[in-house]
């Protein structure tokens, strides 16, 4: 092998190694919770930070929404079908907010209750006519995330 070719080989292998290192670091990072997102099970288990803002996501429990009369204050249960966390929110909820609907809330934990600063309705990636949804509700498939 002439020196020129050898040099080129070394440079290219250095590049390949660099890319491989980058990819494996990204895979490592994906195992970490980098977006401060917790589901109710983790919150109940005490994995979520106290007095720090984080995001929680889950489904609104059917029949759990309670409104204060004459105020905007709302409280509801948020579940991942395993554990449930109570969320309170003082503000206007988005249109899509309803029971059984996915929600992402941003806020802090206070005495086991999640005090939301912002509630956003996350609609799922499924699209279907109302009749189909109604028949699905009768015998629901496995819990969606």
């Amino acid at each position: 092998m002439n020196p020129k070719r050898k040099q080129r080989l070394i440079l290219i292998s250095a590049m390949v190694i660099g890319v491989v290192v980058a990819v494996s670091l990204i895979l490592l990072a994906l195992n970490e919770n980098i977006n401060h997102y917790f589901d109710p099970t983790q919150v109940v288990a005490g994995e979520a930070p106290q007095d720090h803002t984080f995001r929680i996501g889950g489904m609104v429990v059917n029949g759990s929404v309670q409104r204060e009369v004459g105020e905007l204050m709302v409280s509801f249960g948020l579940t991942d079908y395993q554990k449930t966390v109570t969320v309170t929110y003082d503000g206007i909820l988005p249109d899509l907010f309803r029971e059984g609907q996915g929600v992402v809330a941003l806020g802090k934990l206070k005495d086991g209750v999640f005090v939301a600063e912002e509630v956003l309705a996350k609609h799922d990636e499924n699209y279907m006519p109302p009749e189909v949804a109604a028949s699905l509700k009768k015998d629901p498939p496995q819990a969606a995330n």
Partner: protein, 248 residues
């Protein structure tokens, strides 16, 4: 020379491209009209309302194909950039720079329609969600490509410099696609292109696919029109252009 290279070189010759694209344009336009009319009618009138979102879900018939096109056009540009840099094919350069404004427009449409959708659905016009941010970055990269191309005076180095920039910007594409998976933020997950089949009712899916084809055809048509103009401008002095316009 193998057949692939032959094909590339054939398409790479400006007179050939000009002639063939001229023959294809009427057909493409007809197909475009059919898919667009069917897609819009079936999507806006025939398809049932969504179980959750009611009629506002119908914006997917513009939003989703536009978002796909924003990425698709970038990938086409990246391929054109490789072809241009490796084989020095002139047409690849023309395709690249003719595509950039179209891609930017589609990315912009995806952002605007997404924002119109976000207000009633999520309760906010804009959120710094990973998908939204990376789509915004895609728009900025398109604008950077256009800016660089117009800033470099020498045509030839402008084309090659834009090609390099396009390839550097490719890192953003997987980030956009996987953003909804990696960061569990507001934007919903993938509906259509998933391994276990689309999560959308068939009578809603067909219009969407039809719109996607219509958008792709629209892109090809506009890109060809722009490319034809660009080719004529670049080859003004060549013999075939003179013969074409019938003057000396």
């Amino acid at each position: 020379m193998n057949s692939f290279m032959k094909w590339i070189h054939k398409w790479g010759s400006p007179p050939w491209f000009y002639r063939v694209s001229g023959m294809m344009l009427p057909w493409l336009t007809g197909l475009f009209a059919i898919t667009l009319v069917y897609g819009l009618y079936a999507g806006l009138v025939l398809a049932p309302a969504d179980y959750q979102q009611g009629d506002s879900f119908r914006i997917i018939y513009v939003h989703v194909p536009a978002a796909w096109m924003g990425m698709f056009i970038y990938i086409v540009m990246a391929v054109a950039a490789v072809v241009h840099l490796v084989w020095r094919i002139k047409i690849a350069d023309v395709v690249l720079i003719s595509s950039a404004p179209i891609g930017a427009s589609f990315a912009f449409i995806a952002l605007v329609t997404g924002s119109l959708w976000g207000k009633p659905m999520w309760g906010t016009w804009w959120t710094w969600d990973a998908r939204l941010t990376s789509e915004l970055l895609l728009l900025f990269i398109y604008l950077g490509i256009i800016a660089l191309h117009s800033a470099v005076e020498d045509r030839q180095s402008a084309g090659r410099a834009t090609a390099v920039l396009t390839l550097v910007g490719v890192v953003n594409i997987p980030i956009i696609h996987y953003s909804v998976v990696w960061w569990n933020t507001l934007h919903q997950g993938t509906t259509v292109m998933r391994l276990d089949g689309p999560a959308i009712a068939p009578q809603m899916l067909w219009p969407l696919l039809s719109m996607a084809i219509a958008f792709k055809l629209y892109y090809v048509i506009v890109m060809m029109l722009r490319a034809r103009g660009e080719i004529l401008a670049r080859e003004t002095k060549s013999r075939w252009v003179r013969e074409l316009v019938g003057g000396e």
